[in-house]
Symmetry: C2
Subunit: 84 residues, 2 copies
Amino acid sequence: MKLSAKVYVTLKRGVLDPQGQAVSRSLRGLGFDEVGDARIGKFIELELDAPDEAAARKRLGEMCERLLSNTVIEDYRIEVGARA
Amino acid sequence: MKLSAKVYVTLKRGVLDPQGQAVSRSLRGLGFDEVGDARIGKFIELELDAPDEAAARKRLGEMCERLLSNTVIEDYRIEVGARA
């Protein structure tokens, strides 16, 4: 089954995000005074083959644990769907 | 109105993504042979104040054009909702 997955990797709450702070400050510097906190994460789109969505989700969880995220400081969220 | 926005910045189709290629190759190297193409994007969570969601969406479009994305090579997608 040809599937398409989206993986969102975000910093855990409480972990300092200097990149997000820089973006927030830059936006305010450009006149976007309405902006408060900003947090930056990664968004990974993957094509993969799997017997079904549940199997894909399990494998994607392993990929996140082993390579895609640093689980000490990051959370991940997985979405699986049919390939567009 | 206190709102929370999510901005997804992705490379346009046809733009080479060496970071995605490296991730795809690394995953296969770890034994995830079912993985095909990978593409890496940015995921930006912003807190902002706006009169309503339509106004927020307009301002966020300007932020994307001016700072958050490089519109020559990247697309962006905006989601706006109540702050969690």
